[in-house]
């Protein structure tokens, strides 16, 4: 079974970045790392391929600037290869443009299953998995917390407001998985060394047959009209616990009459 995992390389969340005042998009001049949200999909793909006994895990990613640091992390975990769509014209892409590019790259490897995170940690629109599925004409199950595959069908425990649904879905399909559902392996030293030589196929938009004016800035059909500082919240009373802090909390709750 061949699995494609869509992964995003993002600026380190510990370094929150800023908006470019001219273009009103994220400045991306820092080193990119693998979005931690995607490490769960990578791990799940590795486990599913293991369980199937054959097949491989391939990564699909896009970035305007050709970075591969985050991809190498996922390759070090055990993915076999990667397709990186890299093109300056991708800068400024919204979620639908992103989905169009990812879908075109996914088509090239014709996988049995496409795994994604539920949302990226930096843009968190949470719509790309469904957009990819629709463009590819595939069924999808989002917010998966457990995935198993039996032949031509996947069974997914899908998060719901009150618990979870058990959903059967014929393959090929797009499945998004939530964080924390599997424990992503740490890349071994051997894995890290092997990742350096794993194939990363770099494609530009022309190679995918995508008109550059339909993605990125040129294709963006939404605009930010205004950026403002948000109202800040003030700090209140801070006390050091000397064994009686619970009483202060009780008094606070009592005052609010919420008990």
């Amino acid at each position: 079974m061949d699995v494609v995992v869509c992964v995003k390389q993002i600026p380190d969340p510990a370094d929150p970045g800023e908006l470019n005042p001219d273009t009103k998009t994220l400045k991306r001049d820092t080193k990119l790392i693998l979005d931690e949200s995607d490490s769960y999909g990578v791990e799940m793909a590795l486990q599913l391929v293991d369980a199937a006994g054959s097949g491989e895990v391939r990564l699909v990613s896009m970035t305007p600037g050709g970075e591969t640091g985050g991809l190498r992390t996922a390759l070090a975990m055990g993915a076999e290869s990667a397709i990186l769509v890299s093109d300056e014209a991708l800068a400024g892409s919204d979620s639908l443009s992103t989905a169009k590019v990812l879908a075109a790259a996914i088509k090239r490897s014709n996988p049995d299953l496409i795994l994604t995170a539920t949302e990226s940690s930096d843009g968190y629109t949470g719509t790309v998995p469904e957009q990819v599925a629709e463009i590819l004409g595939l069924p999808s199950v989002t917010f998966g917390k457990e995935v198993s595959v039996d032949g031509e069908q996947a069974t997914i425990k899908r998060q719901t407001e009150s618990g979870y649904d058990v959903v059967d879905c014929p393959l090929p399909a797009v499945i998004s998985v939530t964080a924390g559902v599997v424990e992503p392996r740490y890349p071994s030293f051997k894995g890290i060394m092997a990742a350096k030589n794993k194939p990363v196929e770099e494609l530009d938009l022309a190679a995918l047959g995508i008109d550059p004016t339909t993605v990125g800035w040129a294709g963006a059909r939404q605009e930010i009209t205004e950026i403002a500082d948000a109202a800040a919240r003030e700090a209140g009373e801070v006390i050091v616990d000397e064994g009686e802090a619970h009483e202060r909390i009780m008094a606070f709750l009592d005052d609010l009459k919420v008990l």
Binding site: D94, T125, Q131, P139, D168, P170, R221, A228, L256
Partner: protein
Amino acid sequence: MGFAKIWVHGEASDGVVASITLELLAKARELADSVEVVIAGDADSVAAELGDHGASVVHSIGSLDNGLAGPRIASAIADACSQGSGPDVLLCGTTYDGRDVAGRLSAKLDTPVITNVVDLKPDGDRLLGHEPVFGGTKDVFTGTTVEGLDIFVVRPKSFVAESTGGGPASVSTLQVGDLGNTGTAVVKDQFVEESSGPRLDEANIVVSGGRGLGEPEKYEMIEKLASLVKGAPGASRAVVDAGWVPYSYQVGQTGKVVKPTVYLACGISGATQHLVGMKGSANIIAINKDEEAPIFGIADLGIVGDVHKVLPKLIEALEAQ
């Protein structure tokens, strides 16, 4: 563009309309002349409540027959749009199904979708979505630049649901066309996880735990506390990523946005990712042993202390009440 006719993606279970749907109706009513709902399932059982909250028509796609809502509702709306009977604006909630509908529909109609919206405002003949970014330190306003349907995905608790005293909405059937392979997933079984309290995004009190709890077993203190105050337990992303509790517990930028009367953060340092999900709470209490923790910068009552010492005593005090 234009927003004379707004449709709200309606969600309901067992004849009870979800709070997010009523919240969206309240805002839609303020903005548009005509407010309607598109919904799956038994529309007749919710037409009165939806009408009471300002919907004039409920477009019903009927039973899902164990299929998923996303592709079906998106397909029905797309067909309505192509026949000229669709809305100018669609509002979906940031929910499991709401995101599915918005994503599917955006790709179907080849139109952008504006997400993480916490408010909407008119800008000439279009609507702008207000989104907090950078951990809620900046607000941006975003609108589309193309003709056709505008899709917004709106966070729960952005608006206050309000009854209008209106009569029942009329129910009209909306056909779902051929879905091809996109509709082939089938729900085989549904499990309700044991939860005695209110929903996380509707609770009056939220008690959240973070990495400061040290180990997964200690999360039980959070559940115990939440149950004692009739609130809902929540968690930081770190704890969800570590697999202690499911994603549905996560409060933050990725996860749920909550605005309870009281938010009690236990062992949570207050990464921007978390703060954006809870800083709209009316009152915030934080317990953390690091006096430099950013959570104290927004807490009304900050306790510099060890959650392992403070929480057992707090539980005891609440039990004694």
